[in-house]
């Protein structure tokens, strides 16, 4: 079971990255063409010296380019690294960090860790879902404007309950405040 143990270590690595905001550097709003994105993927592969042992950092970086891991790109990475596409699919489906579905332009994360849960994250979640017409199984709006995720602990328990919209952390949330934040985004989007 060595396999599983080493994966657990990787998972922790993610968590740390997440806490320090390393994975939150997506440049929302910057629109790249398909060709530019592929170029970026090639750069990522080059930076990682085409090493299959660097698969996880490669996928993390690729996910920042596309905001999810499209099959097409995983297949491309597999070809370039000369490993089976199924291996990449395996890694991508193992970690919750990786998303195989396209994400909306704005990413909303609601913390449902113990502290936030106790201080009322549940009603916030419901309010945001209702506002955006989302459900437990449907996390991205049809217009691809919003994706809603829950996370377990953002490491900001002092501010509980916490909601993160794109790169901004909002503490001491209420359902009303959450809906207001979304209205604001909608206003700028429509303008």
């Amino acid at each position: 079971m060595l396999f599983v143990i080493s994966l657990k270590a990787e998972e922790q690595f993610f968590k740390l990255n997440f806490l320090w905001g390393v994975t939150m550097t997506e440049t929302t709003g910057q629109v790249l063409t398909a060709v530019e994105k592929i170029e970026k993927v090639r750069e990522i592969l080059k930076e990682n010296e085409y090493k299959p042992s660097r698969l996880i950092p490669i996928l993390q970086a690729v996910q920042e380019v596309y905001r999810y891991l499209p099959k097409e790109v995983m297949n491309f990475v597999a070809e370039e690294l000369k490993i089976p596409a199924g291996k990449i699919y395996g890694v991508a489906t193992f970690y919750a960090h990786f998303s195989l579905d396209p994400k909306g332009k704005h990413l909303i994360r609601i913390c449902d860790g113990t502290a936030c849960h106790v201080r009322g994250s549940e009603p916030i979640l419901t309010a945001v879902r209702n506002k955006l017409g989302l459900t437990k199984t449907k996390s991205t709006t049809d217009d691809m404007l919003f994706t809603l995720e829950t996370v377990s602990c953002l490491g900001a328990c002092g501010l509980a309950p916490v909601m993160v919209v794109d790169e901004d952390v909002h503490g001491q949330m209420t359902p009303d405040k959450a809906v207001a934040l979304i209205d604001e985004i909608l206003k700028t989007e429509k303008a």
């Binding site: 596309y66 097409e72 491309f76 597999a78 596409a85 291996k87 699919y89």
Partner: protein
């Protein structure tokens, strides 16, 4: 004092002789510890937790993962171990569909067998049914993931032995599954149809796609004339399904059985194996003397062909353009049978019986379409033949002998040994030694026999030294392909068979664990070869009769090229639409 290292298993002193782990030691002395995830030829995985033993002073451990150490005291059958094993089985069974009665693997299933062995009579856990759809897209393999116990045997055989990697683990925890990349259909994946995953799967999660019903329907149809070809490896394995030992040559009993079933003509793929030798040797000599592309690979294994098309398209020009013996037979049936049986090709049903699951795929290649119809109608494996006979109430063991039909049942010993790794090479040498070297009495070339994954040999023909290689297992073939691509390959001629041991170890053969049966089957083929009065393909007169009648009189003629050769195509690993420019 001897310097032997020993340890104790259930009080018996056992010598350590380079075994990889305690499990192998236990099995060496006949203590058969149950396992799912251990195969001697694969890496150690340690997932099934069935191989538990107690090591004094260390507690309970999985014997597959502990290297032998001198002085250890091991117990394999304590009350605690018995309880733990049964418990593990109960847990496995609790998330396994309870539908043994209609599972194609029933009675051959290791899960069933071990459950019985360890004495499971009740499952104390809540039954979970995994929901997962069957994948029937492949011509060769049926995947039923609901029955998977996640032992990873298929994953490892596919990547470690075959170098393919079509099946992998995905997701995690209770959602874990063994799956193709992106869960695409198997026929769109890089799978080369070798079937080794199904041969290793302990459950019904991976089984062979059966064509028995369609075949019997055609045999029973009075309008149709049915013609069977049977591959060499089938005859030395089918007996195992009827309680006889491996290696027994059942050719004549199979003929009786098929005739009893209602098959009209029973022929032998050995016939076209001989033809392959004539055709392929001619091609080889031509490449060698006229500056053709070298080295040359053999082409009789369809899993190897798909592997090369998918993973090493640069070497396709190095592969002999000869069809496999099955493919040649397919063409000859359509040429010769209308005259032999007086029927139209549309009423002639061509059936082949193969040790191989990839042959099912080969028969559906576009190259074998003639006038909008596939030349071969049905491909059955040895296992399916056994099932077909059993379902028809025929017990092979009790049948008398019947001779194969003429003329396509005539063969030489060179055709027989096609079924074992090294056999095609030896058959070519028997031809070339006489035709090129002028040596008449060269028959056995023992230097090319054996079971090493990559073997080398050297022969001298007309003063020219030829370097030969024989490989089985596609991961081994991949290594040679890389050498060819890099321009560092030192061989002239390379025989490739995908399955370990060659066709005798094909995935369509009766399930056999370990190496012993394969060895017996190989011995059976070599014995059958020795018994043949004629042992060189060039001595098969019937082959030349067919050449004269239908193929412009000889090998490498226009008609021979049209009917006995084929072409290969570069393939994408994953043939689903995955255009990176679209995202």
């Amino acid at each position: 004092m001897s310097d032997k290292k020993t340890l104790f298993i259930d009080g018996i002193e056992v010598e350590i002789e380079g075994e990889r782990n305690l499990l192998e030691l236990c099995r060496k002395i006949g203590v058969d510890i149950p396992t799912f995830c251990y195969h001697p030829e694969l890496s150690i995985f340690g997932a099934c937790r069935l191989c538990l033993v107690e090591i004094e002073g260390r507690g309970i451990q999985s014997s597959c993962s502990v290297p032998p150490e001198a002085g250890l005291k091991i117990h394999t059958n304590t009350d605690q171990i018995r309880k733990l094993r049964r418990n593990t089985m109960e847990l496995l069974l609790a998330s396994h569909p309870q539908d043994c009665l209609k599972c194609p693997q029933s009675t051959k299933c290791k899960l069933q067998e071990i459950a019985r062995k360890v004495g499971v009579t009740d499952i104390r856990y809540k039954l979970l049914t995994k929901k997962a759809e069957k994948d029937t897209s492949s011509y060769s393999i049926v995947r039923d993931p609901a029955k998977c116990i996640l032992c990873g045997d298929c994953v490892r055989v596919c990547s470690e032995i075959q170098g393919v990697g079509a099946l992998n683990f995905a997701k995690r925890g209770s959602n874990s599954t063994v799956i193709t990349a992106f869960n695409i259909d198997m026929n769109k994946s890089e799978c080369v149809n070798c079937g080794q995953c199904a041969a290793h799967c302990p459950t019904g999660a991976l089984t062979i796609h059966s064509e028995v019903d369609e075949t019997v329907k055609d045999i029973n149809n009075p309008e149709k004339v049915t013609v069977v070809q049977m591959a060499p490896a089938v005859r030395v394995a089918i007996a195992e399904e009827f309680g006889m030992p491996a290696g027994v040559d059942s050719t004549k009993k199979i003929v009786t059985a098929l005739k009893k079933l209602g098959v009209d003509y029973v022929y032998d793929t050995n016939f076209t194996a001989d033809m392959t030798i004539v055709e392929e040797s001619t091609e080889f000599v031509d490449r060698l003397t006229n500056g053709g592309v070298m080295p040359m690979f053999t082409s009789c294994c369809p899993a190897w062909i798909k592997y090369a098309e998918t993973f090493h398209p640069q070497v396709l020009k190095n592969i002999s353009s000869c069809r496999s013996p099955q493919g040649m037979f397919g063409a000859i049936v359509r040429k010769a049978m209308p005259e032999i049986c007086g029927k139209d090709n549309k009423d002639i049903v061509s059936i082949s019986i193969m040790p191989c699951t990839a042959k099912k795929f080969e028969a559906r290649r576009d190259q074998f379409l003639k006038d909008g119809k596939y030349e071969i109608d049905h491909v059955l494996t040895t296992q399916e033949l056994a099932q077909m006979l059993k379902s028809s109430g025929i017990n092979l063991a009790e049948l008398p002998d019947t001779e194969l039909d003429a003329p396509l049942g005539a063969y030489t010993g060179a055709g027989v040994i096609f079924g074992v790794t090294g056999g095609v090479m030896e058959a070519v040498l028997r031809y070339a030694a006489e035709k090129v070297g002028g040596i008449k009495d060269a028959i056995e070339f023992k230097q090319v026999r054996g079971f090493e994954g990559i073997r080398e040999a050297e022969v001298e023909l007309n003063g020219k030294k030829l370097k030969l290689a024989i490989v089985h297992g596609l991961a081994n073939a991949g290594k040679i392909c890389e050498q060819v691509e890099a321009g560092t390959c030192k061989y002239d001629f390379i025989e490739v068979m995908a399955c370990p041991g060659g066709c005798i170890g094909g995935a369509g053969q009766p399930i056999s664990e370990g190496f012993c049966k394969k060895q017996q089957r190989a011995e059976g083929l070599y014995k059958a070869d020795e018994k043949c009065a004629l042992r060189k393909s060039q001595e098969n007169k019937a082959v030349y009769d067919i050449y004269n009648k239908y193929l412009d009189g000889g090998p490498a003629t226009h008609a021979a090229h049209e009917n006995l050769h084929t072409s290969y195509e570069k393939r994408a690993k994953i043939s689903a639409d995955l255009d990176i420019n679209k995202v």
